[in-house]
Amino acid sequence: MSAVKSVAAPAAATPALLEAIGLTVRFGKVTALDGLDLTAPEGQVVAVLGPNGAGKTTFVRTVATLLRPDGGQLRVLGRDVVRDAAAVRRDIGLAGQFAAVEPAMTGRENLEMTARLFGHGRRAARRAAAAVIEQLSLGPVADRRCSTYSGGQRRRLDLGASLVGAPRLLLLDEPTTGLDPVSRREVWDAVRGLAAAGTGILLTTHYLEEANELADQVVVIDHGRAIATGTLSELKASVGQDVIEVSVADPALLLPVAELLHRETSAEPRLDQAARRISVPAVGGPAELAFVIGRLADAAIEVEEVGVRKPTLDEVFRTLTLDQPATERSLI
């Protein structure tokens, strides 16, 4: 890498965990990543948030050297994923959407095999497997075949398999999709422990809550582009406000309620005709709920249900993609 021409690069001695510049990946006519820009410092937990088909998995697979970019650049810890793919693979650990463990082998056998494939010798592989078994509390099941594992145990083992090479960047593609709440907590605890120990982590998720629990930096992607990047507090300040939701029994009341909400909160209400529901951002926080209920009572409008709730991922996306002018999409 020539240091002479990299004017934009900061003077920091350690290269960025991830640096994507105009990253583009196509599958035939479909553009999965469309000029993605993203930078994350070393040791961070980066959550990539987005709907299905946004390009999350494509991004992870490109970082993991499984896909070749069609355009732009992608560097992992300073190394180019195309020219230096072999070196990148020594720095990363991948746990994909499915638990890629061999069901016919025991947990320990799986870990030792992966450790050997990372380049460990026999004894080092045994030590690495034992360390991971302890770290992820897999001791009681370590010598049972994985076909007998629960979904959560399998995921934890899969996570463990990505750790036996002591990667500097851990890639987790939807690590908790399909897990029950208890197993989800277990995976979260494991990820937090790794982050605390200094491992950089890139994870994709559908869940705001998951990003909330784990990430230092959140990147929201849609149609293969980063539409928002920032810390959680920055993201929350912009789109994370609560939503007041009013449902009515009589569809004829939808418009009067929407008008009232608009008048009283000066925010833009959103109508859901089918569910006979109107939602509006609670600009003044949850306290605004009491105010809205009072106004509805004053107007003698009969409602079915009034409540306040967290915004859905869907609403976050709409806020980011529609409500802001294109020039102000960056949250930083």
Partner: protein, 261 residues
């Protein structure tokens, strides 16, 4: 979570041989530990030999040889075409289940993935070949030539086992899922049946005979028969076909593994 033990970072990527052995070990353990897999090939071979020996065999005229002596060497030579579907399925399953992604994300030489798979599946093929040969004797096959010639014939069948392993690996890599891999592997049946393996090619209609004559299975089968008869005709041609198939399919497998999906 306790972090009492830290894991060291490996100093080097694994050597190609070490990585291939790890890949092979896992595939073999899966084969051995999955109930029924190793027995299935024996059951299949038994049913096939029974049908051809006792059901169709009486209607097939195999020249000077008794039909069982005509059939068994050919069936041992072609058994891997019938059991090889399992290889394609296993490769496709690994791809769909994310196992191949995991392997490809590791600093493993790409050739090791094909080598390891080939090593493991050639071993399971060898198991099929040896058990089928034993079954052949049970169904009444008897050697006419020397034991040394028979061993040479068996060795040639084991070579075919390696060759077709690579062919089925390629099928599995191109198949989008396990079902498709199973379907694609049926193409091997076409080559097995439209050959001199189970009926003399001369008994087929004239328009079919060129295909039968010039496709690789016929010389491969003829070479095994000729070794058992003590002449060794066609062995050169059979080895040439084996070499050609390996030279064509191995790079395809390596390149295809590289791309994964």
């Amino acid at each position: 979570m306790s972090m009492t033990q830290t894991i060291s970072r490996p100093v080097h990527a694994p050597a190609a041989g070490t990585a291939a052995l790890q890949v092979a070990r896992r595939a073999l353990l899966k084969y051995i530990r999955t109930p029924g897999l190793s027995v299935m090939s024996i059951v299949q071979a038994g049913m096939f030999l029974f049908s051809f020996r006792y059901v169709f065999g009486g209607a097939i005229h195999a020249g000077s040889l008794s039909y069982v002596d005509y059939l068994v060497p050919a069936y041992v030579a072609t058994i891997v075409l019938f059991t090889g579907g399992g290889i394609a399925v296993a490769v496709a399953e690994d791809k769909v289940a994310g196992f191949t992604d995991r392997l490809l994300s590791l600093p493993v030489p790409r050739l090791s993935l094909v080598l390891g798979r080939t090593l493991a599946d050639s071993t399971t093929n060898a198991w099929s070949i040896l058990t089928t040969a034993a079954l052949g004797f049970a169904f009444g096959f008897r050697l006419t030539g020397s034991a040394a010639d028979a061993l040479a014939a068996l060795g040639l069948c084991l070579v075919y086992g390696v060759v077709f392993t690579v062919v089925f690996i390629v099928m599995g890599l191109f198949a989008p899922n396990a079902q498709a891999a199973q379907g694609m592997s049926l193409i091997a049946f076409v080559f097995a049946f439209i050959s001199s393996a189970y009926v003399p090619a001369t008994s087929m209609p004239g328009w079919l005979q060129p295909f039968s004559k010039y496709q690789p299975i016929t010389p491969m089968v003829d070479a095994v028969r000729s070794l058992i008869a003590g002449s060794g005709n066609d062995v050169g041609l059979a080895l040439a076909w084996s070499g050609l198939l390996l030279v064509v399919f191995t790079p395809i497998a390596v390149l295809r593994y590289r791309r994964a999906r």
